[in-house]
């Protein structure tokens, strides 16, 4: 070491290295190391995620092949969307959903119904059949809650109301049917929120009448006045009561044709 540091060049080099330990090289080195470590970590996390998905996919395929309806539905839905398996619009996915729906599995009926109405990714729409499936699902359950694989907490009855409200390819808009399904959704599933439906049903009304009408929908769904209690005039209260009774009557009359979904299914 002494011989090495005997030359002025070596000494100058040693001083520069020592200075580099002070003058921020530590920060730059740390930055580089940090970036490299982060990249390695991201890559490792990505590989772990891909491995996990691959294992999950294998399990789904195996379970679907063994005829488990939940796995068939999940695999079918992924194949239709092109998620994880192949390309979107894969008709094998539709076939799987058909098989699961035929075995009266409600999430499959619901999803197949949506696919046949919306006709996504080039799948041939069959709106009439799609409506039948959605209607069937709406008499069997309030929500299709299958986690992040599907849209969370979809309400078949509300979905039908939306379809009739806006119309869809092959399904003309029908305000009366929209109201019908939304009333069932509110009465059986206790689901009503202010949005496009409430705007639609109160279109053309004065603010005075609109509040009374929406109040009736709220009480139909939640069984109690909206929080805070509206400051209604006696006339408004009567309007609300009449509207509420009308809606309840309509729901009761519908039960002959469309059974109420089980309460535990909501």
């Amino acid at each position: 070491m002494k011989r090495f540091l005997a030359s002025e060049r070596a000494r100058a080099g040693a001083l520069i290295v020592a200075a580099a330990l002070i003058a921020g090289t530590g920060c730059v080195t740390a930055m580089v190391l940090n970036s490299a470590a982060q990249m390695a970590q991201s890559s490792q996390q990505r590989q772990q995620r891909e491995e996990r998905l691959r294992r999950e996919n294998d399990v789904i395929r195996k379970d679907a092949a063994q005829g488990q309806v939940e796995a068939m539905t999940r695999l079918g839905w992924f194949q239709v969307r092109g998620d994880r398996f192949g390309v979107p619009g894969d008709t094998r996915g539709v076939a799987l959903l058909e098989q699961a729906a035929a075995r009266q599995y409600v999430p499959a009926q619901y999803l197949l119904g949506r696919v046949l109405i919306e006709g996504p990714f080039g799948i041939t729409p069959q709106p009439e059949r799609g409506l039948k499936l959605l209607t069937l699902a709406a008499t069997k359950t309030c929500t299709v809650d299958a986690g992040s694989d599907y849209r969370d907490n979809d309400h078949p009855a509300r979905t039908l109301a939306d379809i009739y409200l806006k119309g869809s390819a092959g399904i003309p808009a029908d305000a009366a049917r929209a109201e019908f399904w939304m009333a069932r959704n509110a009465a059986y599933c206790h689901d009503f929120t202010y949005g496009s439906f409430s705007t639609a049903v109160s279109a053309g009304l004065s603010d005075y009448e609109r509040r009374a009408k929406i109040q009736a929908w709220w009480e139909l769904a939640h069984g109690n006045p909206a929080s805070g209690g509206p400051t209604f005039t006696p006339e408004q209260m009567q309007m609300t009561a009449r509207e509420l009774e009308r809606l309840r009557q309509r729901v009761r009359e519908s039960e002959a044709e469309y059974p109420a979904p089980p309460q535990s299914a909501s």
Partner: protein, 256 residues
Amino acid sequence: MTAPLLSLQQAHLVHLAFEWMAMAIGFQLYRRQRQRDGGSGVLQAGGYPVALGCLLGAALGNKMVFWAEFPHLWSTQAHDLAIWMSGQSIVGGLLGGLLGVEMAKKLSGITASTGDSFVLPLMAGMAIGRVGCFLAGLQDGTYGNPTTLPWAVDFGDGIGRHPTQIYDIAFVLIFGSLVLAARPRWRARPGLAFKVYLSGYLSWRLLVDAIKPVPFDYGGGLSGIQVVCLLALLCYLPFVLKQLFSEPMHEAVSCQ
């Protein structure tokens, strides 16, 4: 007033550029000071150990005081090499450099006083380095607490803060100039200029860090750097006062 807004990467590069500029200019000034004071060249036997000891000591002291400032990082980040290698502290650099020089002199048998030649280079280097700290803004961690004073600086988060980097620059230039002006009068007290400069700076940091955010409170609102300054002053001030008030010596002494 709004400081220039730099991204993390830009802040690192600007800080780095100013650090190297400070080191380079400081080093050149040190070489000239040594020549003026009749010392040997920096790469020669009488000067090289001092320079190397100073730099290595400063590098170690730098990191150690930074670690003292953030002791809570160790429980969660001790495995992270980036934490070990990053972070700096001028106080740590000064104290580490002092100890490094003393050890190097001991090991190489140098007894002459060497500290006074460091005053001007330290002044210049610290002032230039702090410009880089100021420009690095919020990425650097050397800014002060929020304030409503007219010269508060917004470093990019909408909050006006004490520009403590500017305060530092003003202090080292003003105080350092006073020490340099007094140096001819202390010719018979070699090393005293450096001692006064270092003590003055440690006292300054003990005070000014009270208007900076405290990453870890050691008690009484004191940060790690303030505790180090306090301990260093307790150890060092007696030497300073002793030399200041003792009879001037006419031969070279080994103390800094």
